[in-house]
């Protein structure tokens, strides 16, 4: 059985991610202990809340995440977890991120649309990747965010339109670090399929 570690560095609902991964047949550990990451087959960087708080809380994990990612094993950042993969964010004071995927985090411009971007929006799949196996183009997923990731097409797995077109899912050069701005664990059957795809990558 694949062992997936959910890094517990803050607050909020981790139960749904855990259950979604368990549905996919994984053994799930929610952990505050960096040592748990060492022998993980997969790592989830969940996230709700503020970027700078999250970066503060994640400090004890920094070395072990670097080591883990270098080993080529898969890591998935969800929502704020995707944003943390970037070099920096303009949320609050300009804060440095994990810098695992090229890009940075910016606030939605004023386009007359409501912020946060909250609800179900459709994905445009931009690249083939095992994470999106059996996920049709146009699939609806659940978003809730006020900031988004600004990156280049090479690092964009899927995009979404909300006043502007932004990266709904990102990937690093090696293909093992991915992020989703949406919540697969709250995106119904299609979201569960993505979590299953992630477990299969591990």
């Amino acid at each position: 059985m694949k062992k997936i570690v959910i890094i517990d560095y803050g607050l909020g609902n981790l139960r749904s991610v855990r259950k979604g991964l368990e549905h996919a047949g994984a053994e799930v550990v929610i952990s505050k202990d960096p040592a748990d990451v060492r022998d993980a087959d997969g790592v989830i960087l969940p996230g709700v809340g503020a970027f700078s708080d999250a970066m503060k809380n994640i400090v004890p994990f920094l070395d072990v995440i670097d080591e883990y990612v270098t080993s080529g094993r898969p890591m998935l950042g969800i929502c704020l977890g995707q944003q943390l993969l970037m070099a920096h964010s303009e949320e609050g004071q300009k804060t440095t991120g994990l810098d695992l995927v090229s890009g940075h985090v910016v606030r939605f411009p004023h386009t007359g649309l409501k912020v946060p971007h909250m609800g179900w929006n459709s994905l445009t799949i931009e690249q083939d990747h095992p994470f999106f196996k059996n996920i049709p183009d146009g699939t609806f997923v659940y978003f809730v965010h006020s900031f988004y990731v600004d990156t280049d097409p090479a690092h964009t797995l899927a995009s979404c339109e909300y006043g502007i077109r932004f990266a709904a899912s990102v990937v690093n050069e090696a293909g093992n670090v991915i992020g989703t701005q949406f919540h697969p664990e709250k995106s119904g059957d299609m979201g569960l399929q993505m979590l299953r795809n992630f477990v299969n990558m591990c």
């Binding site: 607050l11 909020g12 946060p116 909250m118 609800g119 179900w120 929006n121 995106s187 569960l192």
Partner: protein
């Protein structure tokens, strides 16, 4: 394109045996008609975009059983879950989110102590904090500071915030309160017009539209839906981001899917 959300609401209460039931459910073909988890699964299968659980007992005893309902729902239903009713402290929120909910609604506690919104949003993030505003039309405009809204028949009125399930008027102007709630860090507003709640007459369009136009955060319209056309009215005339309804779904008159099919035909973006 961002879709309009259809949100069934489950008013959860305790029965004599201490078990949880959903008020007003008359599905004949459910194994246990009032079981909130069964109903949540049913609505999920019908295509609900989110679910709201309101703990209308909001007792100490009820809180424990509510947590159990959320946990059992979150284990099987993978869409956003919002929980409200009697939420007064950061610890209440923490427990509910840990159980698998994504958002909480706060209502009376926010009116009594507005800083609670900021405190909760700072800890859990704005996206978790939905402020529920119950209001009632007041035709007597008693002060120039009131936000006057023109009703359907052309008469002026202001909308007054009410608390304790609509029993207690507060003298607070609902539009001004909504703006303050946004400033304080709330991520969304659930707006219920007590004049419409339970009437089947449709949403209260004047106040819904006013808040939708004046605020930057999403507005969930609530109260009064009797048919799919009312949902359409809430989105087009009320400019709401989401529509919440209870009875029309509980009584089995319409499924969530029926409402969405209707909206789609009328050109409203929905997730089907």
């Amino acid at each position: 394109m961002l879709t309009k959300r259809i949100i069934p609401c489950l008013d959860v209460t305790l029965d004599e045996a201490g078990g949880t039931v959903v008020k007003g459910v008359e599905f004949v073909d459910l194994k246990k008609a009032g079981d909130p988890v069964e109903l949540a699964k049913r609505y999920n299968e019908q295509g609900a975009d989110e679910l709201v659980f309101l703990d209308i007992t909001a007792s100490h005893e009820g809180r424990g059983t509510m947590i159990d309902v959320i946990e059992r729902t979150a284990d099987e239903v993978f869409i956003p879950l919002t929980v409200g009713g009697g939420i007064n402290t950061v610890e209440d929120i923490r427990q509910i989110l840990r159980a698998g909910a994504d958002k909480v609604t706060i209502n009376t506690a926010a009116v009594k102590n507005p800083e609670f919104i900021t405190e909760a949003a700072d800890i859990f993030g704005s996206q978790c904090i939905v402020t529920s505003i119950d209001c009632r039309r007041n035709p007597v405009v008693d002060s120039p500071d009131r936000t006057v809204i023109t009703l359907e028949d052309g008469t002026p009125a202001w909308y007054e915030v009410v608390i304790y399930g609509g029993r207690k008027p507060t003298g607070i102007d609902a539009v001004q309160w909504a703006k303050k709630v946004e400033e304080l860090g709330s991520g969304e507003i659930m707006l219920t017009s007590m004049d419409r709640d339970g009437t089947y007459d449709g949403f209260d369009i004047p106040i819904t539209r006013t808040l939708s136009e004046e605020l930057d955060i999403p507005i969930i319209a609530s109260g009064g839906v009797g048919n799919p056309e009312h949902m359409y009215g809430g989105f087009v005339d009320g400019k709401a981001d989401a529509g919440l309804a209870a009875s029309i779904f509980h009584f089995g008159e319409y499924t969530v899917g029926d409402v969405k099919e209707y909206l789609k035909k009328k050109g409203i973006p929905v997730r089907i």
